[in-house]
């Protein structure tokens, strides 16, 4: 049974689109990335899952429970980091942890102290006195201190410095090892590439693709640079299936390839290949490719 399952989830705000017919299934123990630019509907989807907003139509089930009727039981088992985390100016992180622990019926503060040490978070200063990155660390602690079965993280690394981003990615990997399911909304495509098993790509409120990360990268247009001794063979690349954006400069050619390299290798082999470099695409290029495809 999927941990998160939505069917035709739709949210309309008056005349404005929120999300339309979003159908996804996130399996237990999976790290699922939810990708899209600002305003694509990522946060609306998450807020609907959490019952912070009510869907116009469609259903969402988490742990097999209805996200509206049984939201309290669902939230007992998950941790959530809201996008643009805030908790007011006066309270300290420790006070927030203490309150949330009591609301969850936890004695003590779970692993909050260990996480604070790991992320070098200051739990004693009022949150209003912390920088955005340091507030975000407190938000991460509040989402994870009780070792939830499901983590929902909306733009989790916003404001974190590169070292802390690394620490965060390590934490996500550990959570997966623990058996936790993780749902990450992000437009930081690099971090998603490094940590997610599958991704859903959302655009203008619609889910346009759900792919395994490896499949997604396989579909990507890799950038290739090749240098050959005999340049006459380079023209043979033109029109080859999967090859595009071919540019020839003397004995060197750059182009993009989708799919396997077999045709390219067979074509170039007779012409004495001196050098060949294939750049692994960033997810951003993959993502932009999807957008281009949809636009066409």
């Amino acid at each position: 049974m999927p941990v998160i399952e939505t069917e035709g989830l739709t949210k309309i705000y008056g005349n404005h689109r929120g999300i339309e017919e979003v159908t996804i299934a996130v399996e237990a123990g999976e790290v699922f990335g939810f990708l899209g630019p600002n305003g694509a509907g990522k946060t609306t989807t998450i807020r609907t899952l959490l019952d912070l907003i009510h869907p116009s139509s469609g259903t969402a089930r988490i742990f097999g429970l209805d996200s509206q009727r049984e939201s309290v039981a669902i939230r007992a088992r998950l941790g959530n980091l809201p996008g643009d985390f805030g908790y007011g100016r006066e309270a300290s992180g420790r006070e927030a942890v203490r309150l949330l622990a009591r609301l969850r019926g936890i004695d003590g503060s779970g692993r909050a102290e260990a996480l604070a040490e790991r992320f070098r978070a200051d739990l004693d200063r009022p949150l209003g006195q912390l920088s955005r990155g340091n507030r975000q660390k407190v938000g991460l602690i509040l989402a994870t201190f009780h070792e939830p079965e499901l983590l929902i993280l909306d733009e989790p690394t916003g404001g974190l410095d590169p070292l802390m981003q690394e620490e965060f990615l390590a934490l996500v990997a550990e959570e997966r090892e623990r058996g936790c399911t993780v749902f990450i909304s992000s437009h930081d495509l690099d971090e998603v590439q490094r940590v997610c098993d599958r991704v859903g790509i959302v655009r203008a409120g619609k889910l346009i693709a759900v792919e395994r990360m490896a499949d997604l990268l396989g579909k990507a247009r890799r950038k290739v640079t090749v240098r050959v001794a005999d340049p006459s063979g380079l023209e043979e690349l033109r029109g080859l299936e999967g090859v595009s954006e071919l540019q020839i400069d003397g004995t060197q050619a750059t182009f993009r390839v989708v799919g396997d390299f077999d045709g390219v290798v067979r074509t170039l082999a007779p012409h004495h290949v001196l050098d060949l470099e294939a750049v692994h695409p960033s997810l951003e290029e993959v993502f932009l490719g999807y957008y281009r495809e949809e636009g066409e």
Binding site: H54, N80, F85, L99, L103, R104, L142
Partner: protein
């Protein structure tokens, strides 16, 4: 789940601990001052009030002013304290709902296994306690002013006078939760309910001034407020207004449960 309510009420009161002094001290000191000067102004006041039109005296609850209790009611308990306490109530309850939504805290709290109804109940309960604390500080300082000035203010009626403000102010906490069912902008919530508060006072005043319009007073909570420092607390009015406040809070909670929590 009672522990959730206790935790939320505790956190709410902790957040607003300064407001007990910020509101209680000025109101209490002002009341204490009124009580303290009464012995020296009593004669002149009685002469001046004799010349007031009877309608005006009735409208503002100004009686003979032959004792300090009457003077305290006329100067503080008939207008300033109820309006201030009503406004405090809506601010307090809004801080836990619309204020929390604006700061992002509501998203965090509602990520835990907490129902919105319990959140509203906690805000209402915490506001009731905060109001009681502010009114207790007022009554205490007023009593202190009397002791220091020798004004001879009776303790029981004074307590009754301040206590009778509590259900009236609580009604506006209930209205505040109703307002949060429609808007999560604190300025809208406090502004609209403060408007109702002033409108109810004015409606009651008009009803008192014009006997032909006395019927409109029934829509104002000030009709049921009375003059507890002189007449004692009317248990029916006290309980009735408290019950109305609870009903409004329940309606507000239902509305709040059905609304979206905006990002």
């Amino acid at each position: 789940m009672g522990s959730q309510l206790a935790a939320l009420v505790g956190a709410h009161l902790s957040d607003r601990r300064r407001s007990v002094l910020a509101w209680g001290l000025p109101l209490g000191l002002m009341s204490a001052f009124i009580v303290a000067i009464f012995p020296s102004v009593q004669g002149a006041l009685s002469q001046a009030i004799e010349k007031y039109p009877s309608g005006l005296k009735e409208a503002f609850g100004i009686g003979e002013l032959s004792n300090v209790e009457q003077y305290l009611h006329a100067e503080m308990l008939s207008l300033i304290v109820p309006l201030a306490a009503g406004y405090l109530a809506v601010r307090a309850v809004a801080s836990g709902l619309s204020g929390a939504a604006e700061s992002g805290r509501l998203d965090v709290l509602l990520s835990s296994p907490l129902s919105r109804g319990r959140l509203c109940a906690a805000g209402f309960l915490a506001t009731a306690i905060e109001l009681a604390a502010v009114l207790a500080v007022d009554a205490l300082l007023t009593g202190l002013g009397s002791v220091l000035s020798g004004a001879d203010l009776a303790a029981g009626p004074t307590l009754a006078g301040f206590a009778s403000v509590w259900p009236l102010a609580l009604l506006f906490a209930g209205l505040g939760i109703v307002a949060c069912g429609f808007s999560l902008r604190t300025s809208v919530v406090t502004g609209s309910v403060a408007g109702v508060l002033v409108a109810m006072y004015v409606i009651d005043l008009i009803g008192k001034l014009d006997p032909g319009l006395s019927g409109v007073r029934y829509v104002s909570v000030f009709k049921y407020y009375g003059n507890a420092i002189e007449d004692g607390i009317d248990p029916l009015a006290f309980c009735g207004v408290t019950a109305a406040a609870v009903v409004l809070a329940a309606i507000g909670s239902w509305l709040f449960d059905g609304r979206d929590i905006s990002a």
